[in-house]
């Protein structure tokens, strides 16, 4: 995670009920910060558009089998090999523009001749599933460890901090490459194929193990500054339990960095996952994968540039939209840092 610097530069609203701020007309009383945030967010047009784009991607990923059914193709059939006349003798689509036709809307894949549209849709599904799962795990772990370290402090903080340092020192890409074959050889018999679910689980696992530290660091810092504030002291004086203080006093003030951080984390993990498939330790053929489509596209672009066009465009749209969404969420939570 390299996006830690994009977190809010100012402290979040200090008091949970600080409803008086905000640029709009004097709001009638009784709105929660969440409602205020939602109102501000709705007025932010790029934010709404990017939210729609992101929602569209998730919808596409969820509805992949449906799309495939309606469209009448599936991602694993090698149309180009099975039907003569689609690929030439070098394995490239015969028709111009990567073989785009009424039959194959996004063209066909060079050499194997699979349908690009369904490959892409299923590839997005694979990548988003892995990224979403890894993000949720990273966020949960980050909250747990960050808040614990910040609130408990002292020796616990010291050891958790050094543990985070240790994990941050791991070169993540290299660790992935070294770690995955070990997992496979542990769980798979030498003459059985590694099942795809195990590959997916392993990817989620390695992305999780080396991905939560940024979040934890950030939250620890936030908690350190929050726990000395008056409202926390007041809660302590009234005899509230640590659990209540964390959940009722601290966490509501932490939602901003958590939301912002996770909206930035998800596209990063999508690109890391794509990178892993690119270098061959991620998802293998024949499971469709977004990242591997790039790897192949980078090979074919001299002769068939259309093949990389759609996966590339989709990836750019997704990452940009998700980043804009993250920005908008931050702005909505904290209008003082206007762009």
């Amino acid at each position: 995670m390299t996006s830690a610097s994009r977190t809010p530069s100012q402290t979040p609203p200090a008091v949970p009920s600080g409803a008086a701020e905000g640029g709009g007309p004097a709001a009638p009383e009784g709105r929660s910060p969440g409602q205020l945030m939602w109102r501000r967010f709705k007025r932010d047009r790029p934010g709404v558009v990017s939210a729609c784009v992101v929602a569209f991607f998730f919808l596409v990923a969820l509805a992949a089998p449906l799309i495939s059914k309606v469209y009448g193709k599936d991602p694993t059939t090698t149309y180009g090999i099975d039907r003569p006349g689609l690929l030439n003798e070098f394995g490239y689509p015969v028709k111009p523009n990567g073989g785009i036709s009424g039959d194959f809307w996004f063209g066909i894949e060079p050499t194997l001749g699979r349908d690009v549209l369904t490959q892409l849709v299923y590839g997005i599904r694979t990548s988003l599933l892995i990224a979403a799962a890894a993000t949720v795990l990273c966020v949960l772990t980050g909250i747990l460890i960050g808040v614990t370290a910040g609130y408990v402090g002292g020796r616990t903080d010291y050891f958790l901090g050094r543990f985070i340092d240790l994990l941050l020192a791991f070169p993540s890409q290299l660790s992935f490459i070294a770690f995955t074959p070990v997992v496979y050889s542990l769980f798979v018999s030498p003459n059985k194929e590694t099942p795809t679910y195990l590959r997916v689980l392993t990817l989620i696992l390695v992305l999780w193990v080396l991905g939560w530290m940024g979040m934890a660091r950030l939250l620890r810092g936030q908690v350190l500054s929050l726990r000395e504030r008056e409202f926390v002291e007041a809660a302590k004086v009234t005899g509230a339990s640590p659990w209540r203080i964390i959940t009722k006093e601290l966490l509501p003030n932490l939602w901003t960095p958590i939301l912002v951080q996770s909206t930035l984390m998800l596209p990063t993990i999508v690109t890391i996952e794509a990178g892993l498939s690119f270098i061959g330790v991620g998802i293998l053929e024949p499971t469709p994968d977004w990242g591997r489509m790039f790897a192949n596209g980078a090979h074919y672009y001299e002769s068939d540039i259309t093949y990389i066009f759609f996966p590339g465009l989709a990836m750019i749209a997704f990452v940009v939209a998700f980043n804009l969404l993250g920005d908008s969420v931050r702005d909505a939570f904290d209008p003082r840092t206007a762009r």
């Binding site: 070098f90 111009p96 060079p110 068939d304 590339g312």
Partner: protein, 602 residues
Amino acid sequence: MTSATMFLRRRARLSAAALAAGALVLSACSSGGGGGGDGDKQSQGPGEDKTTSANYSIGTKADSAGPAPEVSGAKKGGTVGVLQRDAFNHLDPGQIYYSDVLTNQMLYNRTLTSYKVDDKGRVKVVGDLATDAGTASDGGKTWKFTLKDGLKFEDGSPITSKDVRWGIERLYAPFETDGPLYIPQWLSGDGNAFRKALPEGPYDGKHLPASVLDTPDDKTVIFHFAKPHADTPFATAMPNIGPVKAEKDTKQKYDNAPFSSGPYKVADYKVGKSLTLVRNEHWDPKTDPVRHQYPDKFEISFGHQFADSTRRFLADQGADKNAMSFSNAVAPEMTEKVLGQSDTKARRFVEIQPYVDYISFNMDRLGDVRVRKALALAMPNGQIVQQMGGATAGLLATNYLSPAMDGYRPTDPFGKKKSPAGDPEKAKQLLTEAGKVGQEIVYAYANTDVQQKVAVVVTQALERAGFKVQKKEVDSNTWRTAIAEVKNQFDIYRTSWGADWPVSSTVVPPLFDGRQIADGAQNYSHLNNSKIDAEIDRISAIPDVKQAAPEWQKLADRILTDEVAGVPVFYNRQFSLWGSNLGGVKYHPVYGTADPTGAFVK
């Protein structure tokens, strides 16, 4: 031939193109799209294959006399640039085995015999240092070579039979491990046992006795082999059967500064980066039937991926006009572009290499011959070739021997020509007969992007024939070792093999001799049949290479149809491109590379 230790010369064609996808998309437009597909590109693409067995012969004394016939239009002068992907692993002729360094050594190293390639692609084994391709006596056990007059090293000192003896004897030293070892093994014993004859090489003053390697005078070299070896003229054309001057032999350091006997000498060598060869003034063209000395210099540089070198040759700008590559092929993804650009017509070739790709069947695990037959029938050869790069990367194979082999006949017992996608019905029928429908097959492959795709088509074809496939990906760096383990856990895997010379004694015994099963050896299918072994011995003993050739083909076909130790998939092809200002570049059918010995700057 007996237990020759041979290595795979072929290197996996991996080209890592790491490009930012985003940047690509920004520059993308709808200009993509692929060709006609109606075969019109075929005619202007892969040329006629000159590599056929009929084109090989042993040259006469007249063929062996220099100088080499002039290349038409050739001019002296200029600098030829050479772009290579991998850094040369050796310059010491004693250590050379891979095709890139084999080609490179032709420029500075001369051998007893050599391959003379005419403009029609016909190959003759001729005397290079020797006046002819050798004279056999004693039923093929004794071979005599006479050196030519006027042979000189790069310092002007004469090359004598003592220098050739030194060159051979230093192969016995423990540090000389990477080169082909035919001659020392034929002289002094199989495997590594020959090293006992001269444990330190010639360096402590000891020499092989005259009853083994005799140099009665300055001009004569006589080999006394333990068994008859009809293909000796081919073995003496390997780069390590040449002269090394004792005073200049720096042992391991010789690898960085070989002492030249050929038309060029090493001027500057930056290991892993570049090599500059300049004219050797003491080389006399009148003694050399093979090489020319047209350019002043060869500037060889390393680290050029196939895609890079192809792009540079295509652009044909500045110094790249005078550039070529020995072994870099046109990147498969750029094949169409090259064939589509009409000005490349005169500066490219597509030729069959002596390398064959197989899918080997592990016979320790696949005991039932019907299952192996079904596998062979179901294998989608044509689809595999397409994943490897299509028509310019390979030609569908129908039997174990390459068309480059002497005695090759286009037998096709499994009907691969007729059904390039495999014959699933027939395979299924065989499986049903054997009662093995649903048999699990562990298919191991090196984890590269191309092999992943090959795995897709192989799996699909085998499952259509009624197999269940378990794909196992193996790290591509450890792939060779993994499949060469006798106790490996895989059923089928891709292997490849290149003959050292166009006689099948360098193919059938190492691949199918049951006595050669060992970790790291090339009997990948673990075929162990005493009848086959006996037949190998019988054919090896035939004193005439030409008589033995059809017998090897028959034996290879018998192994393919009766034992089904594996299925041949395709013959590799070399697709080369070079700069427009170079002339005289031609294909070297034995090394499977672009031959620089006749190249000149226009």
